[in-house]
């Protein structure tokens, strides 16, 4: 019987073998059929118009201290590309293809490709079907979206949970006057990516992604199911969901640090009230399973905005969110009793200059994670983004102390098309 170490959700960086992953996806029987269909129809309707958007971005990172682990570089460069191609497909059909790549100077795990989307949509009057690789967002909170369970995180990309791997799905959407009912069959699981032995920032131990273990005997072929009901009534936006299948964040085996993907049933809700300058937001989930202790997680908070401060175009938003996990120290997340305080600045100028500063404080141990991010458009096609992350007061925190020497500054210049 292997004992489990808590994984460092939110603080880890991902990455199993990318090319293997992609070929695995493309070899899914139905994906092959879709691909063939696309190529056939593509040649038949070559005149149909593609629309596209995306970016090509050069990123450089500077680490302010020597690491406590095997990756010793103090700087890193990488190049990434995101694109989304879209075209109508017959009268009611539509196809989206969103490839992604990154080439990284040091981390072989971070050099990877993915298909974020390869999704065919059929739209009827009161329903819609989506088949292929898709990307779905659920949630309302700013600090962490605990209800957002459909896609695996592409955690090797960075701390931002918004980097996601394309998820194989068959989705049926029923459109109602009050909102929608969304039903999912998810055939095929994507393993989380983690920083490799030469990757920074990361924790002390390299995650052995080549030896992932599963609770289910079907392993990554386990078919997950999910449903969500969502809608808006006046100032309220509400979503209720249920998920049954493989949890997206693994436990880690000891002493190998291999990911262990376990089965869960999750029910949850996300609610936002929009009251003039106040936004009140709550996400709540309850998870049960055989490997984990049944537990609840909560993110709740508010956002207040000051508009046109001092008769200028400056807007300032204040965000405060509380994160809770009722397993306390047993939690496989760093957010078991934490508070996020953030400030958002938008200059609303010609270059859309924006900045976001925040600090997450562990109310039990006192550890802090400081983050700052600023961006500004340059000309019509470029955007410069600067980011800094500092881990502080972590000495009493088993998980966060691994990042004590991983503080970094990151600059990214993106070309957009």
């Amino acid at each position: 019987m292997k004992s489990n170490l808590p994984s460092i959700t939110g603080m880890q960086y991902v990455r199993p073998n990318p090319s293997r992953d992609l070929s695995r996806i493309l070899n899914h029987g139905w994906c092959r059929v879709l691909l063939t269909l696309v190529m056939l129809t593509g040649t038949a309707q070559a005149q149909a118009e593609w629309s596209q958007r995306g970016d090509l971005s050069f990123q450089t990172q500077f680490f302010t201290a020597s690491s406590q682990h095997s990756a010793t570089q103090s700087s890193n460069v990488s190049l990434s590309g995101n694109a989304e191609f879209n075209r109508p497909f017959g009268e009611n059909g539509n196809l989206t293809i969103s490839p992604f790549f990154r080439v990284d100077q040091h981390d072989a795990e971070r050099t990877h490709v993915d298909l974020r989307e390869f999704l065919y949509r059929y739209s009827a009057d009161n329903w819609e079907a989506n088949v292929g690789l898709g990307k779905i967002f659920w949630g309302v909170a700013e600090s962490s979206n605990i209800v957002d369970i459909i896609n695996q995180r592409d955690a090797v990309e960075g701390l931002d949970p918004e980097n996601k791997l394309g998820q194989p799905m068959i989705n049926l959407l029923l459109l109602k006057d009050w909102g929608e009912i969304s039903l999912f069959v998810l055939p095929g699981f994507r393993e989380r990516t983690f920083a490799g032995k030469d990757g920074r920032p990361r924790g002390l131990f390299v995650i052995d992604t080549d030896n992932a273990q599963y609770e289910s005997s079907n392993e990554e072929r386990h078919v997950d199911v999910a449903a969500r009901v969502s809608g808006a009534v006046n100032e309220w936006d509400l979503g209720l969901h249920v998920f049954h299948g493989t949890a997206r964040e693994p436990l880690l085996t000891f002493p190998d640090f291999a990911p262990l993907y376990y089965q869960i049933t999750q029910v949850g809700a996300d609610v936002q009230a929009t009251l003039e300058s106040w936004l009140l937001k709550t996400e709540l989930v309850y998870r049960s399973g055989d490997v984990i202790k049944d537990h609840a997680q909560l993110v709740t908070g508010l956002e207040y905005s000051f508009y046109s401060v001092a008769e200028t175009n400056l807007d300032i938003g204040v965000v405060a969110e509380y994160l809770y996990d009722d397993r306390a120290d047993q939690a496989d997340t760093v957010f078991q009793n934490d508070l996020l305080i953030g400030l958002r600045f938008a200059l609303n100028d010609e270059q859309s200059t924006e900045a976001l500063v925040g600090v997450i404080t562990d109310l039990d141990g006192g550890a802090n994670v400081f983050t700052a991010e600023a961006s500004r458009r340059i000309g019509d096609r470029f955007k410069l983004t600067a980011e800094a992350v500092v881990w502080a007061n972590t000495k009493d925190d088993l998980l966060l102390s691994q990042f004590a020497n991983e503080d970094y500054i990151q600059l990214e210049l993106g070309y957009f098309f």
């Binding site: 989304e84 819609e128 100032e235 929009t274 100028d349 010609e350 955007k383 993106g414």
Partner: protein, 263 residues
């Protein structure tokens, strides 16, 4: 019989209206004209259009934004509208959905294409700059009669056009203006010029509306709007093209799911 009756009714109405007009106060006359301006826009069902917005700074440097809009007329309430951005490239695919209301707060959602996230946002921000331009959100939001109180000032000429000059005071307490001066073309019943006064009642901006075209035989729409900020020297030109009316858009084309699918 029917004709005779409706004719009689029309004649009676005409007389009673002029009788009212005679007894009108400046406030009543201002409101009356505002209602007529609003009425000439009624019954459009839905519309789509393309917009090019050119921002010009003090030294004359220009930057361009492009977007497309669709609007659904809602009888008895504010309209529903969607805007999708095509330029600048870093916001391409970003789209907004607004349910405007005459008396209560608007409802507003934003679609962020990179995250596939639809975000409900506060609609209280009326005074902020739209995309860094000289247009505030309240300048370009659905113009409902009830959003202002009116006072008729007099008659004037603007660029050779005979106009009604009407003062409008925002009813919304968070407006960035103390008052607006509307110059309404007497013949076509459309605004050709608007002057905005800031919270200190100092002249702030002047909007000139031109290149009006008559659509569907009933609706006048400007082809060009130029906003000049007297305090900063900056200006923004908004040009409209590809107007289409009654295209068959329905309520469901203005849902958060439709917002995700807009290209």
């Amino acid at each position: 019989m029917k004709n005779t009756l409706s004719q009689t009714l029309a004649v009676t109405l005409l007389f009673s209206m002029s009788a009212i007009a005679l007894a009108q106060t400046a406030e009543e006359k201002g409101l009356d004209i505002a209602q007529q301006v609003s009425a000439q826009n009624d019954g459009f069902a839905d519309s789509t259009s393309s917009m090019t917005m050119t921002l010009i700074n003090r030294s004359g440097k220009k930057s361009v934004r492009r977007m497309r809009a669709r609007t659904l007329e809602v009888i008895g309430d504010g309209d529903k509208s969607m805007t999708i951005f095509d330029e600048p490239a870093d916001v391409k695919g970003t789209a907004s959905l607004t349910y405007s209301h005459a008396t209560k707060a608007d409802e507003q959602w934003l679609f962020l294409p990179a995250l596939k996230r639809v975000k409900r946002i506060s609609s209280k921000n009326k005074t902020g700059a739209f995309m860094g331009s000289e247009f505030a959100f309240e300048d370009i939001s659905s113009q409902e009669v009830d959003k202002y109180t009116y006072k008729y000032i007099g008659e004037e000429e603007v660029d050779g056009i005979a106009v009604h000059k009407i003062e409008a005071v925002p009813a919304y307490k968070y407006s960035g203006y103390t008052r607006l001066l509307n110059y309404i073309d007497k013949e076509r019943l459309v605004a050709v010029k608007v002057e905005y006064f800031d919270r200190k009642n100092a002249e702030l901006k002047t909007l000139t509306l031109s290149d009006y075209e008559h659509h569907e035989g009933k609706h006048w729409r400007p082809g060009r709007m130029e906003m000049i900020n007297a305090q900063t020297g900056k200006s923004t030109i908004l040009e409209f093209s590809d107007y289409a009316f009654a295209t068959g858009l329905k309520d469901k084309d203005f849902s958060s799911n439709a917002l995700k699918k807009l290209r």
